[in-house]
């Protein structure tokens, strides 16, 4: 609310000052450049007022509170079950409610092809064998994907612009994204990430929050399951390698 007030109050202040300056200088002082400066203030005030209305109503601290609570619960579950396998990020077409992460209960290097949507449950059976069981969980990427207006086609430019728009414009957690695609691998480089990257059992399973979001979006764009193969931080950029499962 504080940020919203700051933008709105700045807008109102500029509006009043701009009107006073432009009217006084145009009709009394007869100074053109001062009138123009007043008009510039009016233009800026409109921008401030419009942007002030788009600031989220809840503070980042409250959002962080909800995120941490959710993450802690899933982390406890994953650690208690002793799961060491990497999560498979599924597109919305293979789940019932947005892109989700499937965490196989046993390490499975050759995941069976998932052809039909999995049931909307926490514990799901994803293959024909008795031990093809996993946890189907919502991640930060599930919510992030819902923030997008539309999903682009499976192109490099589409994925790059979607991730840039999300990380830079909507979430404000990075300065830019670069995507390189070769065969079944997608390399995503996130410039200047501002989200804390932690290393824990849980994060080794699901990946870091940024990688998790990137993988969910990649799965959605390619409409295919994906896995985070590796991620590393170097020279103010976060490098993520994602494998597309056919």
């Amino acid at each position: 609310m504080l940020s919203r007030n700051l933008y709105t109050w700045s807008g109102f202040s500029l509006l009043v000052t701009g009107v006073l300056i432009s009217l006084t200088s145009h009709f009394i002082l007869l100074v053109t450049w001062l009138t123009a400066l007043g008009i510039a203030m009016l233009i800026l005030s409109l921008i401030f007022l419009v942007l002030g209305r788009t600031i989220p109503k809840i503070s980042p601290e409250v959002s962080d509170l909800f995120l941490q609570t959710g993450v802690e619960n899933i982390a406890s579950l994953v650690e208690e079950l002793g799961i060491k396998s990497k999560a498979v990020y599924l597109p919305a077409s293979l789940t019932h409610n947005g892109p989700r992460a499937l965490i196989p209960l046993r390490p499975n290097p050759s995941l069976p092809a998932i052809t039909k949507p999995l049931p909307q449950r926490l514990i799901v059976r994803y293959g024909p064998h008795s031990d093809d069981v996993g946890l189907l969980v919502a991640t930060a990427g599930t919510t992030a994907a819902a923030m997008l207006e539309s999903t682009p086609g499976p192109t490099l430019i589409g994925l790059e612009s979607t991730l840039s728009s999300l990380f830079r414009g909507i979430l404000g957690v990075a300065d830019g994204v670069k995507v390189v695609h070769r065969e079944d691998y997608i390399n995503i480089e996130i410039n200047n990430p501002r989200l804390e990257q932690r290393v824990s059992w849980f994060h080794q399973c699901l990946g870091s929050p940024l990688a998790s979001i990137a993988a969910s979006i990649a799965a959605e764009v390619w409409d295919s399951p994906v896995v985070i193969k590796q991620e590393e931080y170097h020279k103010k950029s976060w490098s993520i390698e994602i494998k597309v499962l056919k």
């Binding site: 401030f48 728009s165 414009g169």
Partner: protein, 83 residues
């Protein structure tokens, strides 16, 4: 909110620089100031691709209002030339 601040700062610096340059060149027509301001604001707004949908809609409204003002100034100039 970093992207909002960057955008506002860019527009403010551009408008201020324009004023300084036009004053230095001895420009005395308010219409010229206004048209240059509007063109600059519209260009910067269009170049900021990464705003969220709500901000984009709001800025489109601002752009429409400014463009309306632009057309008004042009119309006045045309009428002045015709009369």
């Amino acid at each position: 909110m970093k992207i909002y601040n960057g955008y506002i700062l860019l527009v403010a610096i551009l408008l201020l620089l324009t004023t300084v340059i036009l004053v230095a060149t001895g420009q005395n027509s308010l219409d010229v100031y206004y048209i240059v301001y509007i063109v600059e604001t519209l260009i910067v707004t269009e170049l900021c691709l990464y705003f969220n949908a709500k901000a984009r809609r709001g800025l489109n409204l601002v752009s429409t209002v400014l463009f309306g003002g632009f057309l008004f100034v042009i119309s006045l100039q045309i009428l002045k030339m015709l009369s």
